[in-house]
C-alpha cells in the first residue's frame, strides 16, 4: 500500500468560540487524489490551511510527508507541501518568470532559475515566461499558480478549488494537469464544489461539514448511501415493478424470484443514485 503523505488525525480547529473543524481524520496516499467536498463554510479551507502548515490545529495531529506538524516544524513542513490557493495571487505587475523566481528563492531551492524552467515546462507555459502576470487569462494564471506550487518539488499538493471560475477548456486543461501529477506519485488533496469533477478526479472523497461526514471512494459513497435505492424491472407487455434494495447484491435474488413466479423480464435497471444525491443527503441540503 502506498505511503500516506498527508495525515490528519482527529483534527479540530476553533476560532475564538467558533468551531471551524471538529475531529476530522483523513489521509492522502502517494499517487492518490482525495477530494474534499462540503458546503461553503464547512471548514474545507481551514482544513487545507492546517494541512499546509499555515495554521496549527486546536487539537489533533497532522503529518506532512513524515513531518509531525508543530509550531517548531511548521516551516519545514511547509517546504514539503505545495499549496494552490483559491485565488492565483500572482504579483500582477511582474513577469511570470520573476513571480516564480521569487518563490523559488523563498523556498530556498538550489537552482531557482532551473526550478522555474522545470515548473513552467510542467504546466506547458515556458513560452509565456516573460509575459506580465496581470495580462494573462484566468486559466493561464491558474496554471502559473500550479507551477508555483511545484517549484520545490513537493510530494504532497493541496489544491483549493483549482478550476473555480475557469472556462470548460481551461478547466479541462487543469484537470488533466492534476491527473498527470497523480501519475507522478504525488499525494493530492483537492477542494471543489463541482461534483462531476470530484467524481472524475478522485480516488477517495471526504465530505466535510465541520465534522467529517464520510470518507470513501466515489462508488463507495454512492453505495454506502444506497439505503432507499431501488431497482426497476420492466416486464414483457409493458409492465413495470420497483423494489427497494439495500445493496445491488440483492438484485439477482429479486430477478430469480420474479422468474420463478413466471414473469418475463425485459430489462433490469438499478436506480443508482448519483454522487450528488449522496452528497446532498450527507450534508442535509434541500434540493
Amino acid at each position: 500500500m502506498a505511503a500516506a503523505l498527508l495525515v490528519a488525525d482527529r483534527l479540530s480547529r476553533m476560532f475564538d468560540e467558533r468551531v471551524a473543524v471538529r475531529d476530522v481524520s483523513l489521509s492522502v496516499n502517494a499517487g492518490e487524489i482525495v477530494t474534499l467536498l462540503g458546503p461553503n463554510g464547512a471548514g474545507k479551507t481551514t482544513t487545507m490551511r492546517m494541512l499546509a502548515g499555515l495554521i496549527l490545529p486546536t487539537a489533533g495531529r497532522i503529518s506532512i510527508d513524515g513531518i509531525e506538524l508543530t509550531a517548531g516544524t511548521a516551516a519545514r513542513a511547509r517546504a514539503n507541501v505545495g499549496l494552490l490557493t483559491e485565488a492565483p495571487g500572482l504579483w500582477e505587475r511582474l513577469s511570470v518568470h520573476f513571480n516564480l523566481l521569487t518563490y523559488a528563492r523563498l523556498q530556498g531551492v538550489a537552482d531557482p532559475a532551473a526550478s522555474v524552467r522545470e515548473a513552467l515546462t510542467h504546466v506547458d507555459l515556458l513560452d509565456r515566461a516573460s509575459e506580465i502576470a496581470g495580462k494573462l487569462s484566468k486559466g493561464l494564471k491558474q496554471r502559473v499558480a500550479i507551477a508555483r506550487a511545484l517549484l520545490h518539488k513537493p510530494r504532497a499538493l493541496l489544491l483549493d478549488e483549482p478550476t473555480s471560475g475557469l472556462d470548460p477548456a481551461s478547466a479541462r486543461h487543469v484537470r488533466d494537469l492534476i491527473l498527470g501529477l497523480r501519475s507522478e506519485g504525488r499525494a493530492i488533496l483537492v477542494t471543489t464544489h463541482n461534483l462531476g469533477e470530484a467524481e472524475e478526479l478522485s480516488d477517495r472523497i471526504a465530505v466535510l461539514k465541520t465534522d467529517l461526514l464520510a470518507f470513501d471512494t466515489p462508488a463507495g459513497l454512492r453505495g454506502a448511501r444506497a439505503r432507499g435505492s431501488r431497482v426497476i424491472i420492466e416486464l414483457e407487455g409493458g409492465g413495470r415493478r420497483e423494489f427497494a434494495i439495500a445493496a445491488t447484491g440483492e438484485i439477482p435474488e429479486i430477478v430469480a424470484r420474479l422468474v420463478a413466479e413466471g414473469a418475463r423480464i425485459m430489462r433490469v435497471t438499478p436506480d443508482q443514485r448519483s454522487l450528488e444525491d449522496a452528497y446532498l443527503e450527507l450534508v442535509g441540503a434541500e434540493r
Binding site: F15, R49, A52, G53, L54, I55, L56, G72, A74, A75, R76, R78, A79, V81, L83, T85, A87, P88, G89, L90, W91, E92, R93, L94, F98, T102, Y103, R105, L106, Q107, G108, A145, R148
Partner: protein, 273 residues
C-alpha cells in the same frame, strides 16, 4: 523556532523593489515630496529676494531672529549679514526635509503591504517557509532603503542648492553636527517609525489611501516643531535633535512590539481583509 534567513528577506525585498519601481502611484508622491519640502526654503531665501530686488538683509527679514539665534546655534558663529540669515533659514527649513522620509516611507510601505492584500498573494507567500519576522523585515527593508535614499537625495539637493545660490561660507556652516544628527540619526529612525505605523495601519486598511491618512498624523509633530522654530519659540539644535532621536527609539520599540503582534501568520490569514 525557524532560523532567520536573509536570503528569504532579500528575495521578497527584491520583488518589492521591482514592484514599487513599476508602480507610479507609490513612487511619484514620494519623489514629489522632495520638491515640496525644498520649495519653501528656496522660495524664501532665493526667489522672494529676487522678485523684490532686495537681499534678506536689505529687507530686514529674519535679521533679528538670526541674531538672536547666534548664541544658541554655534554654526552661526563668524557669519554676518546675508550669509548669517541664509544659514539661519537653512537650519530652520531643513527640518521640513523630515517630511520626505515620513511621506515616502508611508506611501511605499502601504503599497508594499496592501499590494499583497489586494493581489491576494499573502496566502501563497505565507505557504512558503518564510517566517513572519522575515516577512516583516522584507516588507520594511525595501521601503526603508527607498525612503532613506530619497531623504538623502533631498539633503544633497539642499546642500547643492546652497552651494549654487547661497552666500559664501553658508554651505560650510550647514554641514555640521546638526545636519548629520538630523538626517544620519533622526532620519533613519523617523523612516523606521513611519514604516512601522504604515505596516500596522495597513493590516487594518483595504486600500493604500486610507492607511496613509492615518500615518499622515506623523507629519503633525514635525510641522509643529517647524512652526515653533519659525515663531522663535524653540531652537532645535544638536542636543534637542538627539533627545528627539532618543524619543524616536522608544517610539520605535513600542511600534515594533505592536507590529510583531499584528504580523502573526494566523492573524494575517484570518483577520486581514
Amino acid at each position: 523556532m525557524t532560523p532567520f534567513k536573509w536570503y528569504r528577506v532579500t528575495a521578497l525585498a527584491r520583488k518589492d523593489a521591482r514592484e514599487l519601481l513599476r508602480n507610479p502611484g507609490a513612487i511619484v508622491p514620494a519623489v514629489l515630496m522632495i520638491f515640496a519640502s525644498l520649495f519653501p526654503l528656496f522660495l524664501v531665501i532665493f526667489f522672494v529676494p529676487m522678485i523684490v530686488g532686495k537681499t534678506l538683509e536689505q529687507s530686514g527679514e529674519f535679521s533679528e531672529e538670526a541674531l538672536n539665534a547666534m548664541s544658541r546655534m554655534p554654526e552661526l558663529a563668524g557669519l554676518s549679514g546675508n550669509a548669517l540669515i541664509q544659514t539661519f533659514l537653512f537650519h530652520q527649513f531643513s527640518l521640513l526635509l523630515l517630511l520626505v522620509p515620513i511621506v515616502s516611507a508611508t506611501t511605499l510601505a502601504t503599497h508594499a503591504v496592501i499590494g499583497e492584500k489586494q493581489s491576494k498573494s499573502l496566502e501563497p507567500l505565507l505557504a512558503t517557509p518564510i517566517s513572519t519576522l522575515e516577512l516583516l523585515a522584507a516588507k520594511t527593508l525595501t521601503p526603508f532603503v527607498f525612503a532613506l535614499g530619497l531623504t538623502w537625495v533631498a539633503v544633497v539637493l539642499e546642500v547643492m542648492g546652497t552651494i549654487a545660490i547661497g552666500e559664501a561660507g553658508v554651505w560650510r556652516a550647514i554641514l555640521g553636527a546638526r545636519l548629520f544628527i538630523l538626517f544620519g540619526v533622526l532620519g533613519p529612525l523617523v523612516v523606521l517609525a513611519s514604516l512601522e505605523v504604515s505596516v500596522i495601519t495597513s493590516s487594518r486598511a483595504s486600500d493604500p489611501r486610507s492607511a496613509q491618512q492615518l500615518t499622515a498624523l506623523l507629519i503633525l509633530p514635525v510641522t509643529a516643531v517647524f512652526v515653533a522654530q519659525l515663531l522663535g519659540l524653540v531652537i532645535v539644535g544638536p542636543a534637542a535633535l538627539l533627545l528627539g532621536a532618543l524619543a524616536c527609539v522608544i517610539f520605535n520599540a513600542v511600534l515594533a512590539w505592536v507590529g510583531v503582534r499584528v504580523f502573526q501568520r494566523e492573524t494575517i490569514l484570518t483577520r486581514w481583509h
